[in-house]
């Protein structure tokens, strides 16, 4: 070891650096090119399938023809339901972690719980939703059961991003507000939350984006194989885009490829739009921030 360290290296360091940097460039390219390829490929293959009837029509002929409206509406409802469950709870839990939580054993326990919630496999959330919401509480396979399951799954993302956003607000803002006679809650509500809103929103949207694309948690809790009508109450089962893609790509023989790619493109557009909105909010907030 020693002798090697002091002897002249086989390849001169500047050459090593050039080679090394190029290796990193190539690795990064290998990492991101498939992402670009996947998106472009789906757009190119899926676009011919997109027309008005496809988006607002009902599936016909065993889903081999017609549109995918029930799946689109279902995914919209599920995302909305997830937001209703996860946003108020997640944001207030994030406020607690950033503004209230003392540095003690309980807080550490909460942190461990949040980390674990984030790490539990999505299919295990599905089992949990089946056990608690569908069977034990008797909600049946329904939008309600699915939204609750997805909501709890999304919770850790929202809690963590909210806490992060609140902590980024300078301490002096709070000091000034309190010194003017505001209470703790008034300070949070009037000063800290508005300042951290873009960060919270970004986290919320990214969390919901993931929930919208999930299949495993809704598999046993609320999704229907085929349902040629729109759900009318939260206790109805529903079709959903991710599960529909799974069904038409593995369970239905003789499925026209165009409809498959079209459906994938619709889900991709849904998810990428949310992603784009989150990115724009973050960039605008970064540009405008004055502290």
């Amino acid at each position: 070891m020693e002798s090697r360290r002091f002897s002249r290296p086989l390849i001169p360091p500047p050459v090593q650096q050039t080679l090394g940097f190029w290796l990193m460039r190539i690795i990064s390219l290998v990492t991101v090119l498939p992402i670009v390829a996947v998106i472009l490929y789906i757009i190119v293959r899926g676009l011919p399938a997109i027309h008005w009837e496809f988006l607002v029509g009902y599936p016909r002929e065993g889903m081999r023809a017609g549109g995918i409206l029930p799946a689109i509406v279902g995914t919209f409802y599920l995302t909305l339901g997830t937001a209703v469950v996860a946003v108020p709870l997640g944001v207030s839990a994030g406020v607690y972690m950033a503004e209230y939580a003392p540095d003690n054993r309980w807080t550490r326990l909460i942190r461990i719980a949040i980390i674990n919630l984030a790490g539990i496999p999505s299919v295990v959330y599905g089992l949990f939703g089946l056990g608690l919401f569908v069977l034990f509480l008797g909600f049946g396979t329904s939008i309600l059961a699915s939204s609750l399951t997805l909501g709890i799954m999304t919770l850790p993302v929202i809690i963590s991003t909210t806490e992060e956003a609140l902590r980024a607000v300078p301490y002096s803002f709070r000091v000034v507000s309190i010194s003017l006679g505001a209470t703790r809650w008034e300070t949070i509500w009037r000063i800290v939350l508005p300042q951290s809103l873009p960060g919270i929103l970004t986290g919320v949207i990214l969390g919901l984006e993931r929930a919208a694309g999930e299949t495993a948690p809704i598999l046993f809790t609320g999704v229907a194989f085929f349902l040629p009508r729109l759900p009318t109450s939260p206790l109805d089962a529903t079709m959903a885009l991710p599960y529909h893609i799974f069904v038409i790509s593995t369970q239905v023989p003789g499925m026209p490829v165009q409809i498959q790619y079209g459906t994938v493109l619709v889900l991709l557009a849904f998810v990428l739009t949310m992603n784009l909105i989150a990115t724009l909010i973050r960039q605008r907030a970064r540009a405008r921030r004055q502290w």
């Binding site: 360091p13 460039r25 839990a93 299919v123 056990g131 993302v157 806490e163 046993f220």
Partner: protein
Amino acid sequence: MQSRAIYIYQERVINLIIKLSGYSSILFVTLILLFLAREGLPALSKAEISSLFGTRWYPIEGLYGIWPLLGGTLIVTIGAMLISLPLGIGTAIYISEVAPPWVNNLLKPLIEVLAGLPSVVLGFLGIQVLAPFLRPFLNLPTGLTAFTGSVLLAMISIPTIVSIAEDAFNTVPPSYRQAALALGATRWQTIWGITLPAARSGVLTALMLGVGRAIGETMAVMMVTGNAPVLPQGLNALFMPVRTMTATIASEMGEVATGSPHYHVLFFIGVVLFVLSLGVNIAASSVSMKTRKRSERVLS
């Protein structure tokens, strides 16, 4: 004066609600564990223990050996890490140490897009594009193998690995690099000799959370690994069909009768998955609890 009293009362209620929300995470983890155990532990009495830890998964005949499924998860995960670890760490090094800002403004959003891609979309492309491509390429009887699953899982775990590793590199104090450069090291020598070793606990965390992500992934793996619950044997098992624990739950839960031994065994697999992910996450967070940003870890 009275309005002031109401005001204080209101504030107290709000503070209480916030505190309860804060503690809700503990409640949910407990509930999840409780309901998994409630439905899963009866498997130990309803199915024969010897069959449960046997090497055959054949529910119709009451054979519920979880080794083939555990083996399937293991082999797919190892394959995924062999691909995603070099790619993920390399990309993280490039982003934090080498790339100019304009490149990062392209790379980072792309990685974030990958994090948001639904796994069912990747599974679909796995069936449509990747499997037909790999089959003649590797000269296999079928394209739906553990390896196909590994490639997709690698894509799915890359965002986690990149963001955590990048974080780890960013928390290495600049003075370390400055000292190395001042001693005449090249930037590349500094990366290899100083930054990477200094960030090794973060790299280890990235690996573990990547593993956690891979173990828990369901849809993509279920769609492309060929659905064959056989015990993987030897190295070429990577190029044979397998089935993971997650895929087994997802594909069979819809067809079992509530309360049957099969039903309880599927929940029991859920308990095993829960314990596995618990172990991975606690280990990962104890490696480097202090330096990393939490949201980054959770987000990807």
